[in-house]
Amino acid sequence: MKVPILETEWLGAVREIVSVSIKGHNINFKTDAMIDSGSPKTFISTIDLRTKTRIPFSNYKKEALVKIGGAKMYMIDLGQCELTFYDIDNKPISITHHLFGGIATTQDGYSIPTIIGKDFLDEHSLNIIGKTGKKYLVEYTGD
């Protein structure tokens, strides 16, 4: 597994972004996700949830109210979803993971992107390797 990462300056910092397809109950879309090893959870953004899925938010239990990037969001539990990445040869690599949805309570939170968090990186032994301008998401294969 060697998934190319797009490194880009956005909203005040250099971000590491991958393209991904996400499938789950009422979920089937493509998006870009920011890799954030500081986020304990992997979650789908408000914009992606509200524009690309048919999830009835009101039926979901609010798991927690969190503050991300200064914006308040509540998390909903989306259960197991399939995330498909595309490696350097454009070969699909699918990984099943427990996802959350981040519902921003104000428009401030609409800028928060879909996040690949520490839970995802740890559970599937994924690391970022490479140098600036040429980075990849890879599976750790050492001891």
Binding site: L6, T8, E9, W10, L11, G12, A13, R15, I17, S19, N28, F29, K30, T31, D32, D36, G38, S39, I47, D48, R50, T51, K52, T53, I68, G69, G70, Y86, N90, Q107, D108, Y110, S111, I112
Partner: protein, 74 residues
């Protein structure tokens, strides 16, 4: 949308963010094939316009452009 198109649309959005920031402040935009195909004042308007134009938002790049310059720290 092909994977390569999605990747190039994502790349195109971030590369041109400074331009979009000036043109679409406070708006939600949809990008397809390196073109802003919809801009709207809110999500409901975006969805209505997409339905009218027959655009599949699930296969598009959708972004909100903040009204003010912000630095996102997390």
């Amino acid at each position: 949308m092909e994977t390569a198109n999605l990747y190039s649309d994502i790349n195109w959005f971030y590369t041109n963010y400074e331009i979009f920031k000036e043109e679409f402040r406070g708006k939600v935009i949809a990008i397809n094939n390196q073109e802003v195909v919809i801009s709207a004042n809110n999500i409901e308007e975006l969805k209505a316009k997409a339905k009218k134009k027959g655009i599949d938002l699930a296969q598009s790049v959708i972004k909100f452009i903040p009204k003010e310059d912000v630095i996102l720290i997390f």
